[in-house]
Symmetry: C2
Subunit: 180 residues, 2 copies
Amino acid sequence: MPGHRQSLAHLEHLGDATKFAPQIHALIPKCSLLENFSAAEVRLLAHFMDVYRAQPAIELIREGDGGDFMLMVLEGRIDVLKRDRHNTPQLLAAVEAGRTLGEMSMIDGEARFATCVATEPALIAVLDRENLARIIVEQPLLGAKILMELVLMLSQRLRVTSQKLLGLLDEQAKKAVSAL
Amino acid sequence: MPGHRQSLAHLEHLGDATKFAPQIHALIPKCSLLENFSAAEVRLLAHFMDVYRAQPAIELIREGDGGDFMLMVLEGRIDVLKRDRHNTPQLLAAVEAGRTLGEMSMIDGEARFATCVATEPALIAVLDRENLARIIVEQPLLGAKILMELVLMLSQRLRVTSQKLLGLLDEQAKKAVSAL
């Protein structure tokens, strides 16, 4: 049983994503990962993904857990939460259809950065590391395309996050100087 | 003439990296990008890279410029600087042999995030987007390996940067509360 099946055993498994390919294809305008995908590539990718249905208040990913899969929201709404220093979950984002989550742990296998909870009945398509590795070997051009889009997404997030961090540090330095 | 040749025309071009493959291979323990590379894969990759020599005080990458290449430091020392709100360059890092720089712009073509200046005579190996695309088509498994390592590196940097940003925001919230 692939790694993700165990950690998602509390969800309703709807089989592989092949029959959801048209729905996934319709998400392209909202989904950075798929922005350069053709219908044929979406069908190919869908073959390597699994679809699950989640009820509201169900955790899909838990901060701190190990994890080997990413998910794409096909329907519904998902809150992304991270615990602060008082261990209180703080809302980082609320995401909808087209958004992907959990890419970092799929790739590096490290602990989940945040918790993801369905807040409406949700449909998610899951890609795990084992299937990504199969894509790379069996469909190398599709594999390269997925990896290229992941690099792009992470690179853009890193630019935004680094800019925010430097902005805050700059602000702190300014306050420290004006307090002298 | 490939894009990087023009922007690096002020450096001494030493040809493709094939004859530097043993030196690149020796960097594996210090180079995240290459950590899972075999000697054969390094030789293959070297074939797609160009080597340049830079004298001290020479700019290799300039913040804000467009850019389509990344570089790997083979020898020497390079300062990474970013302008603060007063337009004064601030040192972000000083890096040595084994470090790669400029990956984000190679992938997304957006403006360079920081400036890189050689502070000692330096030897750099350059990979540009055009050659990365050639690797993906001509050597898809090597292409997937490079992209996978880039995703890993960006993912780890994003984790560290996000953690720092959340830590600072948390601190600010704490100060705001204690000032009430």
